[in-house]
Each structure stands twice: as C-alpha cells, then as structure tokens.
C-alpha cells in the first residue's frame, strides 16, 4: 500500500467516525432543543386548561386554531395513583383535519378536581424525527464527501510539495547498487527531517561502499597472499614424490595431499579471478562465436567424460555472436558444460541449444536447485569432491561483466541454464 493511500485511508476512516458521532450528537441536540420548546408550550397550555377546569370556566373548542389539541377524561383514583401525574411522550397521533397520522409531542397530566381525578392529554404536532434523521444523514454524507474530496486534494498537494525528497530518495535507491558507480544523492529540501535522512543515507551508503571495497580488497589480498605458501607446499610435495625410496602407500598419501592442495589452489585462483572480473581487469573484448566454442568443448568433454555414457544433443538455429573477453567466454562455456557433465547421472542427457539471441545448457537432474542461491559463492547442491563451488558464481559474474543475462530453470527433470543478450 502506498503511503498516500494509507494516509487517505486513515483520514477517511477517522473523519467518518468523527462525523458519524457528531451527526448523532447534533441530532440529539436539535431534538432536545425542539422538545424543550414544545414542552414549554404544552406546559403553558396545560396550565391554562387546568386553571379553566378548576375555575369552572368554559373549555376552549377543540379546533381553536392553534396547533395544540387536548382530551380530558375522568379517571379512577387507583389509575391516578398508579401512573405518574406528568408524562411527556412522543407518539403518532391521528389528526382529524389532515386525515393522517402525524408525530406529536404529548403531555399527559393527571390532576384532581372537586369531582375527582381527571387526565388531561395535550398534544401538538411536532417535527417528524424520521425526516430530521434523514435530512441530517443526507447532509452529513454530503459534507463527508465534500470534506473527503477537499482532504484528498489537500493531501495530494501536501505530498507533492513536502514528500518530494522522499520519492527522489526512493528512485535513487532503486538505481543504486553497491559497488557500482552511481550518481551522487542530492538534497534540495530545507526540511530538517529530510536533511537528516539524506545525511544518514549518504553516510550509511558511504560506509557500506567502504566495507564492500575493503572486503573485495581483502578477498583479493588473501587469495593473493596464499599463492606463495601454496606454491611452496605443492613444490615440496612434488620434490618428495620424486624420491624413489618411498613406498607405494606413502606415495599415494602424498599424492592425495597434493591433490587437495591443488583443489585449494584452484579455489584460490577462482576467487582471484572473480575479484579481477569485478574490478574490470578483463576489459579487452572481441566478437566471439559461441557456437564454435560450444562445439569444441562439447567434443572435449564428451571424450573426457566418455565413461559416464552421457547422451549429448546439440542443435543450433543460428550463430550466437557476443562481444566479450575471449578467455572469459571460454570460462563461461566450459564451466556450464562441465557442470552439466559432472553433476549428471551416468547415462543422463545433455541438451545444448543455440539461437541468435542466446544459448541454453540443459542436463538431467532429479531435484531442482535453489534458484535464489545457485549463483552465490560456495553454494553446492550436493558436495562433490574437487568442486570449488565457485563455478556458477564465476559464470554469473562473467555474464554480468559482458552484459548477458543468465537464468536457471528446472523443467521436465532437466536443469536448464539459459544465457541471453
């Protein structure tokens, strides 16, 4: 939900509640006021009538031109004692002149004369409360809509004017990517909060950039510093292995150690390579024909992995040409193909397809890989000896550097890696 919508929603809910409450209050205030007035007039009239009755004067005719009307009954003593002597109430009353029921305010008074108890009912037609409610409701709704529209316009205006720096910041963040050059964030706002926010963002971004840079340099340096000690270990073992006095068993152990060291070396080299690509050290590009690369390495790998009896099918619609560094293009192709061969079951399938816009390498597999993790360093679906876990990270980095898109898909028991322009 957008901030603006959220604010509008809250304002409209709050104003609806406030206005509804206010409408109820308003209604009761009006009704109360009207009743008060009407009751006063009924009081006067009743008093007048009672005085006439008590004085034995003639009662006014029922149609005396005023709105006030009355009835008078004789009542028993028990009746007088059971009911309150003065009662106000609202009731629908049949009005003879109008031949219909109308709401009326009624004052019932019980009083005692020399002849016994009497009940005097005085009433006067009053405002139609239902009509009043409807009218108030109608006007409240109209007012609500009016206020809502006003608030909407007001908010649009306020947001436009005041929240602009926020949206500038958001769009800047959208474009921002750590480690990439990015236009500096400029603040044109004089508002303190935004100034602070911009300052905080700038500082945090700078800090992150610095950390990122440090980390990159650290990985590079660490890998680099390991080269010489690794060389020493490897070379010492090599010299040791040339000793003819070693037993076969000793030789084998040394060879295994040697192999493990080789794996570390390879991992180290891959890490260095990643750093170098990210630092843009493979800037020289030329037009590469991916088809011929694929054909060449499919042949090599088919020979090397011949024992796995993998079924390779290769089809090309047209040639896929791409502008990139030559050795990186080889790395990209060989890593993808190697994965397809190494992580394939014996007797599995590999399907390589090339079109003018890209190529895909598909290989048999049982379970899909975690597509969110697959291109991160050291992610391995299943641990494989000698595997560095850097192959796909390397391919991903190469693709990024060459402006290619790489995607992973699992479809019909095949892992499919597609690369396109």
């Amino acid at each position: 939900m957008k901030l603006f919508h959220n604010v509008m929603l809250h304002i409209s809910i709050a104003s609806a509640i406030i206005m509804a409450a206010w409408a109820v209050f308003f209604y009761w205030a009006i009704v109360d006021e009207v009743n008060d007035e009407v009751d006063d007039s009924l009081d006067d009239y009743t008093e007048n009538l009672i005085i006439r009755v008590l004085n034995g004067e003639e009662m006014p005719s029922l149609n005396n031109g005023s709105n006030n009307q009355y009835y008078m009954y004789d009542i028993s003593e028990e009746y007088a004692n059971t009911y309150p002597w003065i009662t106000y109430r609202d009731e629908m009353v049949y009005i003879d002149e109008k031949l219909e029921y109308e709401p009326a305010r009624i004052l019932v008074t019980i009083f005692k004369t020399d002849d016994g108890y009497k009940e005097l009912v005085v009433y006067t037609p009053t405002i139609d409360k239902l009509d009043l409610q409807k009218a108030i409701l109608g006007w409240i709704i109209a007012l609500y809509i009016g206020i809502f529209l006003t608030l909407l316009l007001l908010n649009v205006w306020i947001f436009r004017r005041n929240m602009k720096p926020l949206y500038v910041l958001l769009s800047w963040f959208n474009k921002y990517k750590i480690g990439n050059d990015c236009a500096p964030l400029r603040n044109k706002s004089d508002i303190t909060e935004f100034k602070k926010l911009y300052r905080a963002v700038t500082m945090s971004v700078e800090r992150n950039e610095k950390l990122y840079e440090q980390q990159k340099v650290f990985i590079g340096n660490a890998s680099h510093e390991m080269q010489t000690p690794l060389a020493i270990c490897l070379n010492r073992l090599e010299m040791l292995m040339e000793d003819d006095n070693l037993t076969e068993k000793q030789m084998e152990e040394i060879a295994k150690t040697h192999q493990t060291l080789e794996n570390i070396t390879r991992m180290n080299k891959s890490l260095l390579l990643l750093c170098k690509i990210e630092n843009g050290q493979y800037a020289d590009v030329k037009e590469i024909c991916v088809n011929s690369l694929l054909e060449q390495y499919i042949e090599t790998f088919s020979e090397v992995y011949g024992y796995k009896n993998i079924n390779v099918s290769y089809s090309s619609e047209s040639t896929f040409m791409v502008e990139m560094n030559e050795s990186l293009s080889v790395m990209m192709v060989t890593n993808l193909l190697k994965n397809a061969f190494v992580h394939n079951a014996d007797g599995g399938d590999i399907v390589v397809k090339v079109s003018g816009r890209g190529f895909s390498v598909a290989s048999s597999g049982d379970v899909p890989l975690d597509s969110s993790q697959i291109f991160t360093r050291f992610y391995q679906g299943s641990k494989k000896e000698g595997s560095t876990g850097l192959g796909l990270a390397l391919v991903n980095t190469i693709c990024k550097a060459a402006g290619l898109k790489i995607s992973y898909d699992f479809n019909g028991k095949m892992h499919i890696f597609s690369i396109s322009k």
């Binding site: 080269q227 020493i232 292995m241 170098k276 090599t300 992995y305 060989t334």
Partner: protein, 225 residues
C-alpha cells in the same frame, strides 16, 4: 648452465634451488632487488627466474635496468600476481616467459628447458630423450631415426613427457595440459589410460628405449631403462 633465482620468499627459494641443482644447473640466489641487480650486472646468466614483488623494488624495474645495461638474458617471470597487465608489461620489457604462482616444479623445468632450447641454433631445435627425437616445428617424431605416426593427443602427451623426462607427472596435471584447463573435477581418468596405452604400444613397436612407467595412483614417469 647458470641460473639466477630472484625470489624473496626463503622457502620457495630453497625449493627452487634444490630442484634446479638436481637438474645440474648452477644456481645463484638473490633474495632482494639490490642483490639481484648487482649479480645480474656483474655476471652473465643463461636464465633468470624473476619474482616481481620484491621487498625493495619491482622485478619489472630490474628488467628495464638489464635492458639499459644491454644484458641479454633469458628471463622467466615468477609472479603471484597472475595479472594480464603484469604479464604484458613483463613480456614487453623483454621477459621470455611468465609463470604464475603456484606452479609445478615440472612446469618450471619444462619452461626453462624450452627457453634454453629456443636459443640454440636452427636445426638443433630438436628434443631428444633416449632414442626418441621430436622436431617440434614439423611435428615429427622419430625413434632410432625412423619416423612414427602419432595422433594429435598422443603427440601432445609424448611432447609433454619429452620435456619432463625422469619427472613424476601427475595425471590431472597431464590432463590439464593436454586436454585443457578445465579438468579439475574429473574423477575418472580412463580417457588418459586409453591414450597412454596406444602411445606405449606405438613406442614399443618402434623399439624406443625410454618407457612410460605408471606410478600407481599418481601418474607417470618417462624413464630410460
């Protein structure tokens, strides 16, 4: 043959020296830029192994100095910094080869050997071991003076062993140098066995004296019986 090793790491210096002396080279050591400049200036070496990052200077500067002095030496750069710029710069400054660390000792020897051979006169650029001769320019292999036919892979394998006689060659290293750089996850070396088997057969039929000996679990050694 005199070789100057310029390397600041003591361990590596020791290993390289030991290994070179085993091959009967005369080895001179220079642990820093100053010593290297002095020695290279005073003496003539057949080959200089040069580390780029030295405590008191850059190996590339040494190359420039040598050029200024008009010294002609075969230089192989040994660098932990496997960077293209350094490589290009080094080769531009007159280095003959570039070997990134870490390297196999067998590889170092092969590079030195091929470098020294390059300086031999035309016609002598053949590689000989036992009664086998290879003329790399013509891709010709002969045993006892008789030409034999090898396919491309067999030739590459033989060439690899001819440059590294009497040295233990790891089969994964062999695979990498003959089949390409991406053999790191191969867990079955049948494809090598097949080629080696054919090569052995051909060599044996031609009556070669050197023999490809298998070293169980590791690789092969090309030895003269």
């Amino acid at each position: 043959m005199k070789i100057l090793v310029v390397e600041d790491d003591k361990d590596l210096m020791e290993i390289i020296t030991k290994s070179l002396e085993k091959e009967r080279y005369v080895v001179s050591q220079a642990p820093d830029y100053r010593t290297a400049l002095m020695k290279a200036g005073d003496y003539d070496y057949d080959c200089i192994l040069l580390d780029i990052m030295l405590p008191d200077g850059n190996g590339l500067d040494l190359l420039a100095e040598l050029q200024d002095m008009g010294k002609k030496a075969n230089v192989i750069i040994l660098s932990a910094k496997d960077s293209i710029e350094d490589k290009v710069k080094g080769l531009d400054l007159g280095a003959d080869d570039y070997l990134p660390k870490p390297f196999h000792l067998a590889e170092l020897h092969a590079r030195i050997k091929s470098l020294l051979r390059r300086n031999q006169r035309e016609g002598e650029k053949k590689i000989v071991f036992g009664n086998i001769e290879i003329l790399p320019e013509k891709f010709e292999v002969s045993v006892d003076g008789k030409l034999i036919d090898l396919n491309r892979k067999e030739y590459d394998i033989l060439m690899y062993f001819m440059l590294r006689p009497n040295r233990l060659v790891n089969k994964s290293t062999l695979a990498e140098s003959v089949w390409g750089d991406h053999m790191d996850q191969v867990d079955n070396f049948d494809f090598i066995y097949a080629q080696i088997k054919n090569l052995r057969k051909r060599l044996k039929n031609a009556g070669s004296t050197p023999e490809l000996k298998a070293v169980y679990g590791i690789g092969y050694k090309f030895v003269l019986e």
